[in-house]
């Protein structure tokens, strides 16, 4: 009698799908970053923001008031790092001294995504509202505030 075991497939949240996360990152670079370039810390900040409506609201508040208030340390997810590794090796963005910058291939791909009007709607409208308002300086300041 032969017994076989097969592993049961598990559902995982969409944001743990590599290309989904990459798409998120590319959008951040395209819409919310000056020169289509952002630091690793900033990317983690946005990744944290995307997790919930409240988080996104908080970030918008910070951008509007330019003061840092009531923001706990945001997590640094390994999954984001993994996604970035894929993104770079896929040639969608470059890793240059701690920052990530969109390549031409990446820009083309993100434009393709943006053409689909209903794709990642919530995140997109959030990014449009933030605009370039979360500067690297602001991010660094927020990170500094953790020390206190």
């Amino acid at each position: 009698m032969k017994i076989t075991f097969s592993r049961k497939a598990i559902p995982i949240p969409a944001e743990y799908r590599p290309l989904y996360k990459i798409a998120q990152i590319l959008q951040v670079l395209q819409i919310a970053s000056r020169g289509q370039r952002a630091s690793l810390l900033k990317l983690h900040l946005f990744s944290w923001a995307f997790k919930s409506g409240e988080n996104m609201d908080k970030l918008i508040e910070i951008k509007n008031n330019q003061i840092i208030r009531d923001i706990r340390i945001w997590g640094l997810e390994p999954s984001l790092n993994r996604a970035l590794v894929y993104a770079v090796s896929e040639g969608l963005c470059d890793h240059v001294s701690g920052s990530y910058k969109l390549t031409e291939k990446g820009e083309n791909f993100v434009k393709l995504l943006l053409e689909e009007e209903t794709l990642l709607l919530e995140q997109r409208s959030f990014l449009m509202e933030v605009g370039k308002g979360i500067t690297e300086k602001l991010v660094t300041n927020i990170a500094k505030s953790w020390k206190n």
Binding site: I12, R17, P18, L19, P78, S79, Y86, N108, L119, L120
Partner: protein, 687 residues
């Protein structure tokens, strides 16, 4: 019946009037004119006068030739600019009217048609009043007084049916849809059967036209079926409204209603409907409840009303009992309320979960889209491969070292959809449970209030003057009387409503019976006969005219489209395919004539009018054309107008018109429009 008695085409130019007046006979008219003679202008003008220029793919003066709009050429190469032009058409059915319509005119629009109740061209009636009518104006077909097409339909005694349009509207069949069945015009009319039906969005226009011309029962039956379905819908609406009313009324008296189906059913099921109400922890029939109330009332009435003083002992006991009961209810009430709060919480949690699942579902759908876009730009990750080493990677960002098999996105979506369904079911279940419990709580609360009131009354009585009659006893009676009245009235209202619902079931039964009578095949015996006759005539004629592309035995009339088809062993197709070009022309000749013949045989709706513009298409042989004309000359009951150039050859004309019984021969001459003569009539009898 439509007979065109005469037409007068007039162009007022800078050099005077150029016109042509032509009289037509009641039977066959052959109008000969060379290709450049203005024959087309003549045909177009006839259509224009009838308001049928849409068969030429346009509206109003746009469809007319330049002869009537820009310049008249007469004689060869001499042009005279047109200032004003119009068409006068005299037609006859049971009476004669003359139609005048402008082509070019400073003051009169091409949409205006003047209709004279008299014969202005043939009999030259005087003192005839004209009535202005409109065409291609919104409402022209329906406006009772001024729509020309409406007038024309009535004049021709055509009762146009209501048909469906592709936008769902149910409206009268447009007259213009009908005319291509007996008017075949040169430019497009010879490309197919009923080719020049203008576009109005009529559903299955050709079917409708042929059904009308042959007054097939099938059409009527289909319309009846659709109407019946509409009736059904209306009844269902009424039923729903009445039922809701019933429930609302019952609610006022805490009455439960059983046995009324949510959709109409036949009568018998309603016999099991009844009303019930809660009494002493059981549900009993409402009428019985009323009976009990009345009994109690009788008992109360028979008792003498004691004075307060006499009742003290009794009242004290009553107070004690009531207070105990109130206490029990109170505890119950509190428990139920606590339970209810928990249920609300549960529902809230489910609802939040549902929102989460839906959000996740949307994200997964987005992910799917992103992956497919990634695949189109050939991203390795989209194909599940590592971009650097090309090994397979798991489609997840969880640490690759952890053993796990992520679901494929499609699976994930299905999984989430299943979750969504499940949670929705939970929520619905919660809702139901909550409604039940709310009812229960309300009921107990009501009871509690009643008890409190009673206790108050008893206590008041205890301190009242001992000599006066017991207030509580009186109140008890009064309350009971009020209740009895309330429920008596309620029962009456409920039963009235129930009667109305029962009436609806009668109507419903009638509709169901009518529906069952519609057999699957809508054709009546008469329909079958007519279509068989159509087939017979078609085959006879098409052979006589020289059709040889397919064996006659294989030719049929399609039962679905009513058009000629070729039937092989297992296939059937439109006769168009596989027939030579000239044979297709022969088919159109035959079909058009056959429609008339069948309609005449069975007294249907054909107007007994036929117009053929250049029927000898596709290098038609003189022999075939001759047979066609001979056939047309036999139709004494129909007016037939044939316009042909006869290849500009006298010889061809002689051959093709030999053997014709009798016809009115009209030669247009070199040019249609000639300078006005005192007597402009030009026609000659052919010997």
């Amino acid at each position: 019946m439509l007979k065109i008695r005469a037409i007068n085409i007039v162009a007022n130019t800078v050099d005077g009037e150029y016109s042509k007046l032509i009289r037509f006979d009641d039977a066959l008219n052959i109008i000969r004119g060379d290709n450049t003679s203005g024959k087309s202008t003549l045909v177009q003008s006839i259509l224009y006068g009838l308001g049928m220029e849409e068969l030429l793919d346009g509206k109003n003066e746009k469809t007319m030739q330049s002869t009537l709009k820009d310049a008249v050429e007469y004689p060869q190469n001499e042009l005279h600019a047109v200032l004003e032009s119009y068409v006068v058409l005299e037609i006859k059915n049971t009476r004669v009217v003359t139609i005048k319509r402008s082509v070019i005119n400073q003051n009169k629009s091409a949409k205006l048609i003047e209709v004279y109740e008299g014969s202005l061209l043939v009999d030259k009636d005087t003192g005839v009043v004209s009535k202005p009518m409109w065409i291609h104006d919104k409402g022209g077909a329906t406006n009772a007084n001024y729509g020309f097409h409406l007038f024309l339909a009535e004049f021709l005694e055509l009762e146009l049916p209501e048909v469906y349009y592709s936008n769902g509207d149910l409206r009268k069949l447009y007259l213009q849809t009908l005319f291509p069945a007996f008017i075949i015009e040169q430019k497009k009319g010879w490309s197919d059967f009923l080719a020049t039906i203008p576009f109005f969005g009529t559903k299955n226009a050709k079917n409708r036209v042929i059904e009308f011309i042959l007054s097939l029962d099938k059409f009527k039956n289909e319309q009846n079926k659709l109407r019946l379905q509409q009736e059904k819908q209306n009844l269902i609406e009424k039923w729903k409204i009445l039922r809701e009313d019933l429930y609302d009324i019952g609610y006022k008296g805490a009455v439960d209603i059983e046995g009324i189906p949510s959709l109409p059913e036949t009568l018998s099921s309603l016999d099991f409907s009844f009303f019930s109400i809660r009494h002493e922890n059981r549900s009993i029939d409402l009428n019985r409840y009323l009976g009990i109330l009345i009994e109690n009332h009788e008992v109360l009435k028979s008792e003498p009303i004691n004075t307060s003083g006499e009742n003290i002992k009794e009242i004290e006991i009553k107070i004690k009992v009531s207070e105990e009961e109130l206490n029990r209810f109170s505890i119950n009430h509190e428990l139920l309320r606590r339970n209810l709060r928990l249920e609300y919480d549960k529902k809230r949690i489910y609802t939040e979960q549902l929102a989460d699942v839906r959000k996740e579902l949307q994200q997964n759908k987005d992910a799917k889209k992103i992956y497919s876009l990634g695949a189109t730009v050939e991203l390795e990750v989209a194909k599940g491969k590592c971009p650097t080493c090309n090994q397979e990677i798991k489609d997840s960002l969880l640490p690759q070292s952890i053993e796990h098999t992520p679901m494929h996105i499609d699976e994930n979506v299905k999984y989430l959809q299943a979750q969504e369904k499940m949670i929705i079911a939970y929520v619905l279940g919660q809702d139901k449970g909550i409604i039940e419990q709310e009812k229960e709580v309300a009921f107990i609360y009501g009871k509690m209030n009643e008890l409190r009131q009673s206790i108050r009354n008893y206590k008041r009585e205890l301190i009242a003057d001992e000599r006066i009659p017991s207030v509580s006893k009186i109140e008890e009676r009064v309350k009971l009387e009020a209740k009895i009245k309330f429920y008596t009235d309620l029962i009456e209202t409920l039963e009235n409503k129930l009667e109305k619902i029962k009436d609806l079931t009668l109507d419903w039964t009638k509709i169901i019976v009518k529906e069952s009578k519609f057999k699957k095949d809508f054709y009546s015996v008469l329909d079958v006969k007519k279509l068989a006759s159509l087939e017979k005539h078609f085959k006879e004629l098409v052979f006589k005219f020289g059709y040889r592309s397919k064996p006659l035995d294989n030719i049929r009339i399609s039962k679905e489209k009513y058009l000629p088809i070729v039937e092989g062993d297992s296939i059937k197709y439109d006769i168009r395919f596989d027939s030579s070009a000239s044979d297709m022309i022969r088919s159109i000749w035959s079909y058009t004539c056959s429609l008339f013949k069948v309609s005449k045989e069975y007294q249907c709706n054909h107007p007994h009018f036929l117009l053929f513009d250049e029927p000898a298409q596709q290098s038609m042989s003189n022999e075939s054309f001759n047979q066609f004309l001979i056939e047309l000359s036999k139709y004494k009951d129909a007016q037939v107008l044939v316009f042909a150039s006869f290849n500009n050859s006298d010889e061809d004309f002689r051959i093709t018109t030999s053997g014709i019984e009798e016809s009115n021969y009209i030669n247009i001459g070199r040019k249609l429009l000639t300078p006005k003569k005192p007597d402009g009539i030009e026609s000659s009898r052919r010997p």
